[in-house]
Amino acid sequence: MLEHQAFIQHVVEDLLKEAKRLGADSAEAAASQDSGLSVNVRMGELETLEYTRDNNLGITVYFGKRKGSANTSDLSAQAIRETVRAACDIARYTADDTCSGLADADLMAINPPDLDLYHPWQIEPTEATALARRCEDAARAHDARIINSEGASLNTLRGIHVYGNSHGFIGGYPSSRHSLSCAVIGRDESGMQRDYWYSTERDAERLAQAEEIGIKCAQRTLARLGARRLSTGTAPVIFCADVAPSLLRSFVAAIRGGALYRRASFLLDKLGQPIFPSFVRIHENPLIPCGLSSAPFDNEGVATSAKDLVKDGILQSYVLDSYSARKLGTQTTANAGGVHNLSIQTSGLNLADLMREMDRGLVVTEMMGQGVNRVTGDFSRGATGFWVEGGEIAYPVEEITIAGNLRDIFLGLVAVGNDTDIPGSVRTGSWFIESMTIAGD
């Protein structure tokens, strides 16, 4: 892997040299190489075996304040020359943009930490197939009502990513990611339902047991059988821990620099103001060892660090890259490319406690469609889940929508559960929201 890393680093250096040779005032370049294996087992038999191998290189050049970009999947020396030339050609036609350019040199990550992101998995196709089969077998054997399957998949990916720019910064690191997932179909007299479950980690040792994933997948599927609709009205809503990250993502989308300088956000000018109840703390930590979304520097080479986005319910920080920061007259927050490892502080309540507290209302386990307007905060999405009566699940529900405005939804957060045992890079429990509109019969 070190050999590959040296090669990818050379590609980036060559890109930057070529940009300089062609007269660019500054430039930034990134290159990556990934390889992996993916198997899908369906109804006990291997269905697909895929070997993946992806290359990518990209360059952005600046002539004064004009910019041009190009990228390709070809890492050859000739492709490097052609790609840089294409980016330079483009920059002849773009306009001067006073805010464009690299992030400031003094923000570059010096000696970025090793975050332990690389745990390659030397798994043979036969072993991978056996593991996926164990997962699917467990799901199919769990109950006679599991009558069909979309299969179980094992994916393993490893790669190298290098970024460099004409400040002299160059940094790169290898990383890996593995996942095991399963989706099965259940049937009873009411019809068919499908659900899935998965585990994903940087280190295969940390993946959930194949059987555990399969059984959880089967249980989730069975729980949906016999789903009914609800009548139209308003009710409190609990967003289960595995759908709650989508609310956090909507929050982040509204405090991103691009949305703010375009005035295309429902959280404009809210820095320092309460947008959640006072018990809410939302934290970003890019430096978690082995974290799924960890990164020692952002897509502009800026050193990352942990920070609160929300504290005591008050918005503490936007999510900015250097361009949007200049547009807003402030400093980048090292979020070029996005946020890393979000978490929200939880209460002492588990999901059952939250349901008891709610007494009567809707638990959402899946949402469908886009239905989120980032400019106004208007929210309207399809939902499936459970109706709760007397603090207990009464029956599964489907073919309903839930609607409200995200500003009200955030301020109407009653509690966050401690059921944080969900896969992925976001750490949250279930969210209990005071009231939303449900559309059904």
């Binding site: 895929e50 070997y51 993946t52 992806d54 999947s73 179909i185 499908r194 005035r263 469908m368 609607a403």
Partner: protein, 480 residues
């Protein structure tokens, strides 16, 4: 005119030193004794995009995507490998990896020859070169100006322009060698209008498998600008949408996303072979009102969803999915057609050489009916008239689907009333078309901006329909 195959050979094979012998050798390695189906998919795509924002062209990007994907299928098993490097060494390596799903043996000897070519549906010329760069910049500026000129309340305009040129060459186990050269252009306009602290967005756009002149012809690009601004201004006036189940009138054209989600995905061959679709095993049954006939047609000249041949080399066609309410057929690729014992329908599509093909829609639409659209609206006591949509999604197993209205109005006593805020509509795919009670005589296809996602793969598609009256659709507003 030079043959597509010659052009593709010149662009993909010759510069990489790939000869027919190399292709035959790789096919031979793929076609082990137990292999039922195999192919090699070469691709070389160029794409150029420009973005105007704050009145200036801020960004431009150029990209090249090239590579080769090799597949071997045995029974229900598929082996797949691909490479960004197109050379004889990587071809052999990938062929061995793909066919490792079966026991190795003596591969078949396959002689390749040009497949019979089908009629052209679009130009072979390169849309990237169809306008010079000054003209592209000028076009973006004109559109920006037109959007802003609609009203002083329009204070944010983003215009993007994309031109792509994709060359593919497919060698199949039967020896057929086919090629396609696919142009694709697209423009998107998105605006924000602001009044008294309230901000609302509007968006429009269009495209086709054409050269960039398509956007200039009939001032299409200016229409997109006017339409985006008009929508944003209407949304400034929008009141809360109702919540509950009601009669919905869907406008013509893009609202055909209803068909794509409610029935289209559920009629793709793979889900029906595996029995995971709510439509599985229902051929010949009534799944829609007798007013409804729905087709998928990949052979329409110049449309965004069209292909001369699909990504397996099969010529595209018009496939009747639902005829007068009866379920007539599924959309098939070679693999699923073979396992179901039917003919492929030219619906085998893939995002790129790095993805496996599967049954996908092309241009999916409902044929025109008899009703005057004005009569349809006048027939509704109270309900919703939805004319523009964002995306949608479907759970093909339970049949539940959603699609999100971005421009809609109340219907009150047969008349179009106030605009309402965007809302998601939800229904059950196998039921919703049985509740279509009126079909307009105004069939329209969308403007050419559709992208369909399935199992992580995106492909361009088209939709269309006439004005429809649908009973008992659930509207997800906030006004309960």
């Amino acid at each position: 005119m030079t043959d597509n195959l010659d052009i593709a050979r010149n662009i993909i094979l010759s510069p990489n030193g790939i000869l027919d012998d190399h292709i035959e050798q790789a096919l031979g390695l793929l076609c082990m004794p137990d292999v039922d189906l195999a192919d090699i998919y070469f691709q070389h795509s160029r794409l150029e995009s420009w973005v105007l924002e704050d009145g200036i062209v801020k960004e431009g990007a150029f990209s090249i995507e090239k590579g080769v994907g090799l597949r071997a299928v045995s029974g229900e098993k598929t082996g797949f490998a691909y490479s960004d490097d197109i050379d004889s060494l990587h071809l052999v390596e990938a062929a061995r990896a793909a066919s490792s799903i079966v026991h190795s043996g003596q591969g078949r000897r396959i002689a390749i020859r040009a497949a019979k070519s089908s009629r052209p549906l679009y130009t072979g010329e390169d849309p990237l070169l169809s306008l010079d760069r000054e003209a592209k910049i000028g076009l973006l500026r004109r559109v920006d100006e037109e959007a802003r000129n609609q009203d002083p309340r329009i204070n944010q305009v983003i215009v993007s322009l994309v031109a792509a040129h994709e060359v593919v060459l497919i060698a199949a186990d039967h020896g057929g060698l086919s090629a396609d050269i696919r142009p694709l252009v697209r423009m998107n306009v998105s605006v924000i209008a602001e009044q008294d602290g309230r901000r609302e967005q509007g968006g429009s756009g269009g495209g086709a498998r054409e050269l960039l002149h398509f956007l200039l012809d009939e001032e299409r690009c200016l229409d997109y600008a006017r339409d985006a601004s008009r929508q944003a201004l209407i949304n400034l006036e929008a009141v809360a949408a109702p919540a509950g189940t009601m009669t919905v009138v869907l406008g013509p054209g893009w609202p055909g996303v209803l068909l794509h989600e409610a029935v289209g995905h559920g009629l793709e061959g793979d889900f029906n072979r595996k029995g995971s679709s709510a439509f599985a095993g229902r051929l010949g049954e009534q799944v829609a009102s007798s007013l409804c006939t729905v087709v998928d047609d990949g052979a329409m000249p110049g449309r965004r969803g069209s292909l001369r041949i699909d990504d397996e080399g099969t010529p595209t066609q018009r496939t009747v999915l639902i005829e007068n309410g009866l379920l007539k057929g599924y959309m098939q690729d070679r693999h699923n057609a073979r396992l179901m014992g039917v003919a492929p329908t030219g619906n085998g599509r893939r995002e790129s050489y790095a993805h496996l093909p599967m049954p996908r829609m092309t241009n999916t639409y409902m044929l025109a009916g008899q009703s005057d659209p004005a009569d349809i609206i006048a027939s509704v006591g109270n309900g919703i008239y939805a004319v523009n949509f964002g995306g949608g999604q479907v759970d093909i197993t339970s049949g539940k689907f959603v699609f999100s209205a971005s421009e809609a109005y109340l219907i009150e006593k047969g008349k179009i009333g106030r605009p309402v805020k965007g809302a998601t509509l939800i229904g059950n795919g196998p039921e919703v078309l049985t509740r279509v009670t009126m079909v307009g005589n105004d069939l329209q296809l969308d403007q050419g901006i559709g992208v369909c996602g399935k199992e992580g793969q995106s492909v361009p598609v088209g939709v269309g329909q006439p004005t429809l009256r649908v009973e008992q659709l659930t509207v997800g507003g906030t006004n309960a």
